[in-house]
Subunit: 462 residues, 2 copies
Amino acid sequence: MVRRRFLAIFVVVLLNAGGAQTALASDSTTADRIAQRLLTRGLRDSRAYDLLRELTTIAPHRLSGSRGAAVALELTGEMLRRVGATNVRAESLMVPHWERGALEKGEVWLSGRSSPLPLSVCALGGSIATPRKGIVAEVIEVKSLEEASHLGPKANGKIVFYNRPMDPTLFETFAAYGGAVDQRGGGAVAAAQAGGVAALVRSITLAHDRVPHTGAMGYRDGVPKVPAAALSTVDADTLSALLRRDPHLKVRLELSCRSLPDAPSANVMGEIIGSEHPEEIIVVGGHIDCWDKGDGAHDDGAGCVQAIEVLRLFRELGIRPKRTIRTVMFMNEENGSRGGKAYATHPDRARERHVAAIESDRGGFAPRGFTVQGDSVLFERVMKWQSAFAALGADHITRGHGGVDIGPIVEKEAPGFGLVVENHRYFDYHHSGNDTLDKVNPRELELGAIAMAMLCYCLSEM
Amino acid sequence: MVRRRFLAIFVVVLLNAGGAQTALASDSTTADRIAQRLLTRGLRDSRAYDLLRELTTIAPHRLSGSRGAAVALELTGEMLRRVGATNVRAESLMVPHWERGALEKGEVWLSGRSSPLPLSVCALGGSIATPRKGIVAEVIEVKSLEEASHLGPKANGKIVFYNRPMDPTLFETFAAYGGAVDQRGGGAVAAAQAGGVAALVRSITLAHDRVPHTGAMGYRDGVPKVPAAALSTVDADTLSALLRRDPHLKVRLELSCRSLPDAPSANVMGEIIGSEHPEEIIVVGGHIDCWDKGDGAHDDGAGCVQAIEVLRLFRELGIRPKRTIRTVMFMNEENGSRGGKAYATHPDRARERHVAAIESDRGGFAPRGFTVQGDSVLFERVMKWQSAFAALGADHITRGHGGVDIGPIVEKEAPGFGLVVENHRYFDYHHSGNDTLDKVNPRELELGAIAMAMLCYCLSEM
């Protein structure tokens, strides 16, 4: 009797061990097989670039509140239907509405000269206009907000020129960007506090060219509003050199931008319903708004079309996920992040449970991996998929921030994931007239979509 | 007595253990510190791109035996001196000398039409010319050398058109290239064997444009020589479509290329002498010759200037390597690999011992890691440096082929290392008029040089 029981336990243990091993092997094999199927299908049809061409052709300018943004919402809704998404719909929200206007002009007037040198400038997003005749003032150069705050009477009546470059020696360009962007965001407030009449900010880019890069800036209650413009890096170097020779030169700045009342807009979304847990949602998305200087090809047309392509790949391969995969075009990442907030607080969210949120907003470059914003138990679990992602060149998995748009839903209930791509060229194009389709490589863009689809699959079957 | 001896042994063991631990910790710290110093200095000064601008401006066309190749040898010798290399010298060798000539022209004559459609073609390297009046013949399309060999009498008097694309579904573009390039290399022989009068080969690229890509082709003793040309991918698709509608269309091909007698040339090199083992050599290099359609910016101007930049970085940082680091500009990788062979068999090699050879010949894109061509003991050793390479984004270390130029010295005595870079765009430019400076990103190019310098450092101190 003892013997038989012992034998039975032994057999059960053996069976279990065998079962576990088989499950493990088959899981890993399944993941590898799915990665291969996604890769083959994605690289053969490669539709992400076609979608991006369509988006940047039909709705190149998509700043929140603009006509282009509305067209882009219509168009991406149509794209979602085209790839077979269900429940394609818009969730309304209000967005800030700022317009650049027709005029933005900068000039340097050297002492004693009768004609000016042109400066390549553009208004920063959110800036007020200059008076109609422009601002003409002397310039004082600083390297930081801190330095501006100590200028004292020297800054009175002058244009404060922020000229600290991105640090090129940092391997991570996003870190270099983070180290310089405070000048853009806070330059106008610090200039006004110092008695200045405008802020001129070196473009936050590693490129050395004559293309100015825009981006969000802000004002503070109780501090006078002064206009703020970006200056190309070449022009910033030139102005700095001229100032050393001629400290009393003047810059003339004309901007016709303006803020309008908040405008109605929306997040657009569509999904593949999960076969086993339809109420459990995996969000995958990018932001559909973009700055108006370029066509938002990398930032973030790429992320949007990749998120649409994820659904197409699932449909084409006949993969029915266990959980619902929802593609979201978030509105207004650039100057307010209203879309991400509205998504997380929409009444429909009360009936749903988000198990993950994935964002692509670092450009359509070759994928290298992703960040995981969640606890260490989740991270360890995710790391088990690493070998399957190696086949996509996307196995660099680290803990880190998921993304701005998914931020609110991540904070509320779901772990976040951010697609990480080759980053060395991103800020060359970012927020500038150079962010156009020709800077995107079709194969690299598609590989990003494939990596996102693979992540959706793993999270769905988890 | 026993006790004292025991104590002594115990102390020695303790000291050794402590020493080993310290050495290990400090080794790892040193490697990380050197990686950081290389990164900071390289990204701050970033000279590789300046060197590449100079090379592609002064000697854009550097095919073996050409005037441009001779100018490039002079120029890179001068660059080596400029960065502080010692023993800058040339080692003579003879190279094949093929010239494209002024004329290369393709046309499609549809049945019953009185004017032709232009075809974007270029002679393949090594091809004979067409007769002066050109070749006019019907076309037969095949997808492989194998298919050509079974054409039978159908191929008689026709132009054999090889139209198998690179397989876009392979993640590794080099594998996709390897899977298609036999058509270019062997197409003329197979065409002649089938009774054809010329070979027309779809360009070996993933780009879909009208730019033809050249590259080496060969003839075989006893098989008649027929001219061979590349056709752009768009033109290949067009020709294929036209052939389905009009199987008796004719193509007219005119090429004025020719082979001349072998010409004198050289490998150029310079070095930093090792402080402890000067006779132990670490070779780092690229090939200075390139195809004549573009400027050889990625292939392989990038590898050459990176290898020069390695020496500059050592000099600038005052790092005196224990072993000699020798930068070599190999000649004639593209159509003969004579430089690599001449280097390995030069009489001076008898007095030297090569401990490693590193090659960069996959384009000046962002580095991802390197291949190791050596035994598993070496590989395990190299893998210990992985974390230091992670700081450079170059920690993807795999076993694999080092490179064509270093092949002979690797076969003779030294382990080989090949810089591995982001590869998705390489074949868009490779061997074509698009391989120009504007396709290279300064930061990515420099990062490759930094990764090579780091590898030199690790191998030198090993």
